[in-house]
Amino acid sequence: MNVFANIRVALRALATNKLRSVLTMLGIVIGVAAVVALMAIGNGATASITEQIEGIGSNLVTVFPGSFEHGGQRIQAALTYEDYMALEQHVERVNAIVANVSQGMQLTYAGNTVDVQVTATLPAYQQVRTVEVANGRFFLRSDGASRARVVVLGSQTATDLFAGLNPLGRTIRIGDVFFEVVGVLESKGGGGFGNEDEIALIPLETGYTRLFGRNAFSHGQRKVNDVSMSAATPEDVEWVMVQIERILRQRHGLKLSDDLDFTVFSQNAILETFDEITATLTIFLGAIAGISLLVGGIGIMNIMLVSVTERTREIGLRKAVGARRGTIMFQFLIETVVLSLIGGVTGIALGWGIAYGVSAADLVQADVQANTIAMAFFFAAFVGIFFGIYPASRAARLSPIEALRYE
């Protein structure tokens, strides 16, 4: 008997037992679809988080007041405007540097209110955080010098507050103080992480003198919430951090043996932290996908085991009417390969569809990758073929009469 006749026998057997074929395939479909979809979502989420962190500003180095030392105990200390001045003058290899003072406040316009983080900062904020103005202008040095009550809004804040009106030139209230909107930032996109679009920016000097009041002062000194700067190149980040530490130690009168009372943070450190988080996310999704594959595999196995009696007798009968062992094995191989192929391709299509649906619903930009597809497909094919071939090979080894009597 030739190969094609045997392939026809296998296809015939699949067509004859449609329910069994479909149920077997279902296990493969579910396993493959779950892996493809979940891994795509995981990859997409990872990519979008990384992109957002990189969007914060490249080569960003930030100094915060206080630090965690001594097993988690917080060392309190203020960071002042004078610290900023010192860093601004002495730190080398820095493109732009700003001091920020921020506070959560309520913004009001014609009955609309939103609660956002209001940050008093310097014009260099634009370079440090790589933000672009979509509409109007950013504030200038002169705005600070004249303590002008001008505000630049994040895109989301502008939308929330003005609901479609052009915000430029309009007067809003921040707390009890009136400000004129001079600009709206471009959206940083993404959403969900960091609320980069839900902010309001005002000149630093205006913040100190007109908005924040006593909160922004400590012992008569102007406090800052952080000093942020962008190093000239990624390679300079390390050097910039060393300089900051040296300068601030000196200014705060800390000896080399003393613990720091400030924290220097680089975007790389943030990225590393998030790499860990996304790695965990990927492992988590991978585990779920793995479990789905396992469940799919068990489904396949169950169908195979449930049908093993019938199939063993079928094998006995085929042998009794002249089939060789090799012919039987080939028939079963073809059957399982066909099921795995159809199931695998359907699973990939379904998984892709789910990933596409998730992207279309704007939840996460899912990213279907070739290696996940390959992995899921080969695993499912392996499980399908193994559980299809293994009982068949056992049955084919029996004498025809033993196989026919099997129960």
């Binding site: 004859t16 085929r318 042998k319 060789r324």
Partner: protein, 230 residues
């Protein structure tokens, strides 16, 4: 080899190990069947009839003894040769029919032809002829579940005959059928024997069925206890 025996077995034994005890299903059976002979094998339940038939049909191997089938020493044959013998030389009819479920009568009958390498059109004509021979031309597209017991057994007989085997072995072919259908079946066997010169071995414990064959072999406890020819 003596005067045209298609089947010759000497001291065939088949033992099953059941825990501590050994069941001697066959215990030194000698038998030869000449070409064109028609014989019944009788014996009480458990006497080893089915076991003997399975060995004769190359569906099982004896624990001990020698078997020549059509001049070949069966022990020397490889698995693939045995498969080919089962497909082409021997037709086997089981008590329980053993048809493929959800598969039409025609396709069931074509099965041995597929494995014998018969091609497309010939396969179909031969299968149709075999079904016509057993009087089922009008039921070719019916599956086993749409056929009566007698019809299913006739499909099984058509399947056994489709390759023109030298020997037809039937293990209680009428056992699962009512007596009228059983008689019809035996008439069919008689006709095949007369018209085609088929060598026929029928296991039965129905004396009426046995009375239709010229030779009756009796088994008891795995041994031949009688061998009468009219």
């Amino acid at each position: 080899m003596d005067n045209g025996s298609v089947i010759r077995i000497e001291s065939i034994s088949k033992h099953y190990q059941m825990g501590d005890t050994t069941v001697r299903a066959l215990d030194g059976v000698n038998l030869s069947v000449r070409a064109g002979e028609m014989l019944s094998i009788m014996g009480p339940s458990g006497s080893g009839k089915s076991t003997l038939m399975a060995i004769l049909g190359c569906l099982d191997k004896p624990t001990d003894g020698r078997y020549w089938l059509d001049g070949s020493y069966v022990e020397d044959l490889r698995d693939t040769q045995l498969a080919s013998i089962r497909g082409k030389k021997i037709g086997f009819v089981f008590q329980q029919f053993n048809l493929l479920a959800r598969t039409s009568a025609l396709e069931n009958v074509m099965l041995p032809l597929i494995y014998a390498g018969v091609r497309g059109h010939d396969k179909r004509t031969q299968a149709e002829e075999a079904l016509a021979l057993v009087g089922l031309s009008d039921r070719m597209d019916h599956g086993p579940s749409e056929l009566s017991g007698g019809q299913q057994q006739r499909v099984a007989i058509a399947r056994a005959l489709v390759n023109n085997p030298a020997i037809l072995l039937a293990d209680e072919p009428t056992g699962a059928l009512d007596s009228k259908t059983g008689v019809e079946l035996m008439d069919l066997f008689g006709k095949l024997h007369r018209e085609r010169g088929l060598t026929l071995c029928v296991v039965t414990h129905d004396p009426e069925v046995a009375a239709r064959t010229p030779r009756i072999v009796r088994l008891q406890d795995g041994r031949v206890t009688g061998d009468e020819t009219e």
